[in-house]
Symmetry: C2
Amino acid sequence: MHRIIHSRLTSLLHPPTFTQPYLKPFSTTATTTVIPPKMDPTVETTLRQILAEKQSAVDAQAAAIRQLKASRPADSAAVDAAVERLKSLKLEKTAAEEHFQALIKSHGGESKEEFRQSVINTLERRLFYIPSFKIYRGVAGLYDYGPPGCSVKSNVLAFWRQHFVLEENMLEVDCPCVTPEVVLKASGHVDKFTDLMVKDEKTGTCYRADHLLKDFCKEKLEKDLSLSPEKAAELKHVLAVLDEFSAEELGAKIKEYGITAPDTKNPLSDPYPFNLMFQTSIGPSGLIPGYMRPETAQGIFVNFKDLYYYNGQKLPFAAAQIGQAFRNEISPRQGLLRVREFTLAEIEHFVDPNDKSHPKFSEVAHLEFLMFPRELQVSAQAAKKMNIGEAVLKGTVNNETLGYFIGRVYLFLTSLGIDRERLRFRQHLANEMAHYAADCWDAEIECSYGWIECVGIADRSAYDLRAHTDKSGAELVAYEKYAEPKEVEKVVITPVKKELGLAFKGNQKMVVEALEAMDEKEAMEMKANLESKGEVEFKVCTLGKNVTVTNKMVTIMKVIKKEHQRTFTPSVIEPSFGIGRIIYCLYEHSFYTRPSKAGDEQLNVFRFPPLVAPIKCTVFPLVQNEQYEQVAKRITKSLIASGISCKIDITGTSIGKRYARTDELGVPFAITVDSTSSVTVRERDSKQQIRVDIDEVAGVIKEVTDGQSTWADVLWKYPTHSSASADE
Amino acid sequence: MHRIIHSRLTSLLHPPTFTQPYLKPFSTTATTTVIPPKMDPTVETTLRQILAEKQSAVDAQAAAIRQLKASRPADSAAVDAAVERLKSLKLEKTAAEEHFQALIKSHGGESKEEFRQSVINTLERRLFYIPSFKIYRGVAGLYDYGPPGCSVKSNVLAFWRQHFVLEENMLEVDCPCVTPEVVLKASGHVDKFTDLMVKDEKTGTCYRADHLLKDFCKEKLEKDLSLSPEKAAELKHVLAVLDEFSAEELGAKIKEYGITAPDTKNPLSDPYPFNLMFQTSIGPSGLIPGYMRPETAQGIFVNFKDLYYYNGQKLPFAAAQIGQAFRNEISPRQGLLRVREFTLAEIEHFVDPNDKSHPKFSEVAHLEFLMFPRELQVSAQAAKKMNIGEAVLKGTVNNETLGYFIGRVYLFLTSLGIDRERLRFRQHLANEMAHYAADCWDAEIECSYGWIECVGIADRSAYDLRAHTDKSGAELVAYEKYAEPKEVEKVVITPVKKELGLAFKGNQKMVVEALEAMDEKEAMEMKANLESKGEVEFKVCTLGKNVTVTNKMVTIMKVIKKEHQRTFTPSVIEPSFGIGRIIYCLYEHSFYTRPSKAGDEQLNVFRFPPLVAPIKCTVFPLVQNEQYEQVAKRITKSLIASGISCKIDITGTSIGKRYARTDELGVPFAITVDSTSSVTVRERDSKQQIRVDIDEVAGVIKEVTDGQSTWADVLWKYPTHSSASADE
């Protein structure tokens, strides 16, 4: 029986919709729905009531005026007074509306959207990313990393390899994207990796059913100021439980609210599931169906046995994989956060289910960061700072290994430059988790789209290995050798074939097999019944009926056996990283603007740490001059030889403009060549400058770039430099 | 008009078959067919003649015996003598056969195959690679990189980034694998990226038509010793020209030789083209066909305009991309060399077609290596060492930029550990190149499968950018701003619409357009004719007929115009690297065996340079001892902090065995902890040892690993160490 599946990030990133809520291990949106409401709900209700009252007053007054005008003889003075009153009532209503709308804005979107737009403009203009196949009008949900974006990505991946693979001694593998159907049948993706879709009944255009319902509710709540408090509450409830709706429930709501196709206003079909994998066919015969993998994890699970032997048959160990994953979104939205092809970095840490301690847990136990356990979510409280050591000790986090990875993920993300105040670890609610999962925590990063799941850290128990064992017949198990043999009580079932043959003739084999397949409990019950009654009714599934088994036909006894080892299916703890999402959030967290020196424009800056910066250093000759250019080239060459990406800019543009250009790419250091003996080095954010000898400068940049020194260290060591002409 | 296409490696790696030979820009096999014949052809012909004569003598003697026996009265003494003679003739024939077979073996396969088998056994046993989805019986042509293989791959890619992207200041991009049809329609892949396939007419099993014919010819030549020299020559000719056969020619040969399905001996269908791209569908509607990209290059071409602007509208510049490419092989063979999904690293270097010089050419001009220009191939000579500077000077290599990349590729491959004696640069023959290509050279590496194309370096002229300009309408061009405006002579054609209207009525527009579309030559011819004869016959394609144009209807004159810039489509020079193939050849070039100390077994070693080695260093406590283990852990931690992958082995196994295990993974250095103050460091290939202080050892390993020092340097600096127990 293949229940569902993926509480891993692939799914988190791109979550399917399921018809049975308890099978659904993750939220359906990038923006989680359990975050505290944007506006105090009491305030909102009060405002809506006031607004409704004002509207009623206006309506009543207008009715009164109509009546006054209708009465003969008309009392024109009374009418005038009533009209004046109506005017003032309308003004009151408008004021209330404006107040309400301002509140919505400040809690919701517009300023965030403006911020996002400046980030995205800068990213697109400087080619951090490019909509793929742009000259052919592009394809929704596909993006290219342009030069600086590509560099940021490889820096993030290189650091991931250092921080996880190298420092944790993981076994990295690299498996193909093309995957035969049988593998994804075993994992459950073929049957369950779906979203609910509706079609425009006339044009055939497809939409995600939940998106349409969500958009409808949000739009109503934000724009329809005449909404009654009751209706508003209903729509909010729909938004909260939307993810758990079945196809039928979604369909019913769409009908009830009269939702039509957004572009044409045509009627919509009933919702039905659409599988989100890109399908293809392997080989020329067309007979081997395949898919582009929706996650990288399965490539690790199917290799468990080889990897276990490679690791000297020792647990725990972790395997890791970085690679492309694919998801054929129905209608991709949220720009770089929801795409059809993306890079995942996944870890499968295999442990003995009886021992989930971690030898290095003490190294992270002191860390403190925002955590958002289940209890806080259900009691509508906010996330709070907790110590991960205590969280494990108290059982808030299920086990040390899970806690260790939460700590390591925290260190990873903050080293990249993610703001620790906009990073939290949110525990899955019971109904979000797969039935087999022991515990799940998502690293969520807050950006202009809300809190975004960027890393999923799940204890998936033995589910995946068991699923592949069942499907393939390969025993994906581990062994614990006992120091000395253990005595174990076992039930031995011995069918007496002669008697069974006499009684069941041709059916004997089926009965024997059914008897031997009984578990301990069943066998001991049969034993008791046979001893007390002499015979027992016994269901043989393969025969489809009950047979009568007598005490002559089988002996059942408990014996003591010596066992030399224990065989078990390891549990897997899976941290799964959506690299593109992390990078996008990093862009937002790193972006700021500052006025130009003249104060006439705002300049954009990405405050990337050197680790992440696409280019580490620029080299500018102060003026166009052969000597300075030679020095600049010498420095550049020496930087490149040390593996430090740098850029030389010998255009005659002003130094200020050249700084502004590179600040926008997040280049942390700039060397200005203004003599043939020493140069100035400028730090991007502080704009501080030091003077360094030409022969030393590459070494200094290397030190501050690879983390041996900080800018503060070198600032102390070298003379500072100030120059009127130097910056902006 | 979309002719064909790809002389780039994607295609080279996995070459389609075309029906028109002149369109076919590359060879069809990984093993190139132009290498010198394995055996001296004169020797072979002589041997075949001798063998045929011996066979005839045996046949004649057997006939003579039959005659003797048939004659009455039988002369039994004569029969006996004749039988003796037959026996000795048969012995002679057998001896000649054995001699021939031994020669075939020594030139051909068996020893090479044995060598390959030991390499592959080691690679599979140590998980350098794993057949993908093994527990589900795998999928042909898909392989996983296991932990050491994955590490080798990321080392190779990191070095590629350093050597090309960083040192050449290239713009790296990262585009999706999923590609809409329109892009691959423009590139020509939808129409032409095919192989010819035949089907078993009863079972439907598919085969590559050329493979079946090739196998048939090879098998006949190797095993059928009774083959007449004429027939042998014919089969060899077929092998040589096989790649140029049309579907009809291939089909005819298959029929002529009576080739049947290899597994069933059933008859085969006629050959027909099979498109080698994995097809899929983008989005839920099923209306946007897409493919998994067959190469990464198109992602760069479609972004040309943005990249050109990013580079400050300056040429030359290069863009680069590393990523997965896909090819749905009909029946993958040659193990790791011909797979259905592989990693490509491609460079597109855009240059002004009028200036293909390279500013850094002098840095490689002194290099000398095996080159195999066209002339040597067609005159059946061997490749020879040439100086790349001279080759460009003499015009053997078309231009400096192409020559520069050949030199850089040579440095890249030999730095990885490719044997320079088994590396050559082979120029494409005229019939191998695309019609638009200026020149193409392949870096071929010799391994047990023969000479393998691993890098293609092609000057593809303006073909790709023009193809996308045509299809998309986006102008993928560059500009050369003139220092001052240039005066250019231009032909101006002015149709006199009034006259044309009178003469052609409703057809006027078509005639006007046809007149305006004339090129300079046509226009000047018309001008001359009009001046001499007063009128001229003029073909209007859109009307499908000739019309008479008089000198009243059009004026044609040459005028001088001022132009401020030149607009042109850049040429592209494309080095394209098949990363998996390079790595496989590297495995073969790095593998050797040496006897164990006891001499009772052969131990396997990979002599990877530190740059490539999957693990740089192992750390062994000499004996199981808490103090030594602590030291080992301290050293390991310090190595890892510097980014050096290392492995600690605290099993009690003998040091010799632990060395043997890690030699097989190609680990270059081993630290043995045998005291708490200093340790021994052993180099893998020389097995030399030095003694180094514990606090210094991580630094020493870092130095020799990242290339700052060589082993010889540290050997000179530190005391050598010899210990009876230390090795094996």
